[in-house]
């Protein structure tokens, strides 16, 4: 079923995107692919003590054609999957996954503001028996105030009506304070960057992986906790660590990062229970393509 959904979403989005990308050089294409592994982390919750490791994969492709002088459409798709290695009896989903379209736009507002609205309608769940209740459409609104070439301020808002916290605001800044140093404090991936050369960059970064997912109707019963059946879970994971970025070509960048996952939370907020993990090492590889 999950393959069918993925094929359906990508089948609708990608031909449209590819047509745009092929027809006009004034079209941007963004490809971001990420694979990471988080080692065993002690995880505790109501009556549960276990150890979890994790594989996470994320692929996002967006095409952005200019529809008018001030408006760029954004259309594409994203697939993200968290796979957890966990004892069969532990009330932790083995998979949290999203397959979604990306529909939105960038707009220049006034002299100094660029704003973005992006909605990601799709399926968010453990993909055990998908129903209409697995469908969600989180919305991200963002604004960048371009003070000058070295300083930009950011404001953002994430709206997901299924989450315990349906509206989450954020603020950030990008400040290039010398030729080699840049503070790029933008959520969910804030960084302090140091340019070693034109192609190599060192950074100390943070990462917030988060999402709201619905788990299967029988998940709770299968794990001796019926209250978890069809429950919503707010997933949150923090990471912090140094990384190395290599601009292989001007359009392709590879990043390798390793560090500590200090905190992870499965918050079954409707069921009034959560499971928390602490302190595990992680490593990740990321590829950014801008075509």
């Amino acid at each position: 079923m999950s393959r069918f959904i993925l094929a359906l979403v990508l089948g609708v989005i990608l031909p449209v995107a590819a047509t745009w990308a092929g027809n006009s050089p004034a079209v941007a294409e963004e490809l971001d692919a990420e694979e990471s592994y988080v080692g065993d982390a002690g995880t505790h919750g109501k009556g549960t003590a276990t150890s979890i490791d994790e594989n996470c994969a994320d692929v996002k492709f967006v095409v952005s054609p200019q529809l008018s002088k001030n408006f760029l459409l954004r259309i594409g798709g994203e697939w993200q999957r968290f796979s957890f290695g966990v004892a069969a009896t532990a009330p932790v989903p083995r998979v949290l996954q999203q397959v979604s379209a990306v529909i939105g736009g960038d707009y220049q507002l006034g002299d100094r503001w660029l704003v973005r609205a992006e909605v990601q309608p799709g399926v968010y769940g453990d993909f055990e028996g998908i129903t209409g209740r697995d469908v969600d459409a989180p919305l991200v609104l963002g604004g960048a105030y371009l003070a000058d070439a070295d300083l930009q301020w950011f404001l953002g808002l994430r709206v997901d009506v299924r989450s315990e916290y349906p509206v989450l605001p954020a603020a950030g800044v990008r400040w290039k304070f010398s030729d080699q140093w840049t503070l790029d404090f933008q959520l969910p991936k804030p960084r302090l960057e140091y340019d070693l050369t034109d192609r190599w960059q060192l950074y100390l970064g943070g990462d917030i992986e988060a999402g709201t997912f619905r788990i299967g109707d029988h998940f709770g019963s299968d794990h001796g906790q019926p209250k978890f059946n069809g429950a919503m879970v707010d997933y949150l994971e923090l990471r912090v660590g140094p990384g190395l970025s290599w601009k292989i070509t001007p359009i392709l960048t590879l990043e390798a990062e390793a560090g500590l996952m200090p905190y992870r939370d499965f918050d079954f907020f409707h069921a009034g229970a959560d499971l928390r993990s602490h302190n595990a090492p992680y490593g990740q590889l990321v590829c950014h393509g801008r075509f």
Partner: protein
């Protein structure tokens, strides 16, 4: 050349021959005819506002553009003169380290003010890139012969004076070639792999902005931008400067041309050499007579067209952001010009 380009050049040539380009009646109407300003409030411009428009994303991968409109409280001839010879270096905000007029003909001695002996990190960057240049590899915009000359003249532990002398010779040769041959003397860069011809880039950008290109046919044709022989009688102000671009110092060579077209003026400021970060740039000005409280004044339209290597790899929102920042930089520059004019009065 594609059909669009061929049609543009044919039309441009015909308009230049017949003299139909640029015969304004009402200045604001004339400005709206070719520019991105479809709504323009002259009252606000008279009050000191600088109107700006970011250019739309170009098909040309290395190009970016912006337009501005403002009023100067001096007659058009004086406005044209000030714009032609304006020295931005006293304005710290513009990050121009040096700005010097060049005589005709120029020699290496005219670049004596070039000095790499400084603690300025951007200038140090240019010095380091100069020292790192070899006959086959350089991050700077050079021909192979220029790279070989720099590499031969500068040893790894070379002092700043030697580097300045080498650059002086290089810049003098480029400036002399431009003074003699005009646009045809713009020597292509060869060190980035493929050959990069700044003159071709200027033509390509102006083809994309067909309305502006046609409006400026009178002056662009006299400069020789369409591949024709330049008009040697067209007065030009030559200069060199050293400025900061994204924390890196850039040496450039430029020429500002001025042409009276009926009651108004056209100016073209061509930056025909940039040592790095940019390939080339052209700023076009059109200046019309207006009345400001019964006194003669000038309505100025300015269009900036810039090509840069990194622009080829910035698309979508990122390119949009570059356009917004470019508009801000141009606005800042115009504000300095206007403030300077005010302080003179």
């Amino acid at each position: 050349m594609n059909m669009r380009g061929a049609r543009f050049l044919l039309l441009a040539g015909w308009l230049a021959t017949t003299g139909l380009a640029g015969e304004p009646s009402d200045p604001v109407a004339a400005l709206k005819r070719f520019s991105d300003f479809q709504q323009l409030d002259l009252t606000r411009l008279l009050a000191g506002e600088i109107a700006t428009e970011r250019g739309a994303l170009m098909d040309f991968p290395n190009g970016i553009s912006a337009q501005a409109c403002f009023v100067m409280a001096v007659p058009p001839a004086e406005a044209a003169r000030r714009l032609r010879v304006w020295d931005p270096s006293p304005h710290e905000a513009l990050k121009v380290y040096s700005f010097h007029p060049l005589p005709v003909p120029c020699t290496a001695k005219d670049f004596q003010a070039l000095n790499f002996q400084t603690n300025s990190k951007p200038i140090r960057w240019l010095f380091d890139k100069t020292v790192a240049t070899t006959p086959t590899k350089s991050d700077l915009n050079l021909t192979r012969a220029e790279a070989a000359a720099l590499a031969g003249g500068i040893q790894k532990q070379s002092d700043a004076r030697v580097a300045a002398d080498c650059w002086s010779k290089l810049l003098a040769a480029r400036a002399a070639a431009f003074q003699q041959k005009g646009v045809a003397g713009m020597v292509p860069y060869e060190m980035a792999g493929a050959m990069m011809a700044p003159a071709v880039q200027l033509r390509t950008m102006l083809r994309e902005e067909a309305g502006v290109g046609l409006e400026f046919v009178p002056i662009l044709r006299k400069i020789g931008l369409f591949g024709n022989a330049p008009d040697a009688a067209l007065p030009a102000f030559y200069y060199w400067s050293l400025f900061d671009a994204d924390h890196h110092a850039v040496l450039n060579l430029g020429a500002v041309y001025q042409l009276a077209v009926g009651e108004h003026y056209q100016l073209a400021d061509i930056e025909y050499y940039e040592s790095a970060e940019l390939y080339t740039a052209i700023a076009l000005y059109e200046i019309w007579p207006i009345q400001i409280g019964g006194q003669p004044g000038a309505l100025v339209w300015r269009g900036d067209y810039v090509t840069a290597p990194m622009l080829a790899f910035t698309k979508g929102t990122e390119r949009l952001a570059y356009g917004v920042l470019m508009v801000q930089e141009i606005k800042k520059e115009i504000r300095c010009l206007l403030d300077e004019a005010k302080s003179r009065r």
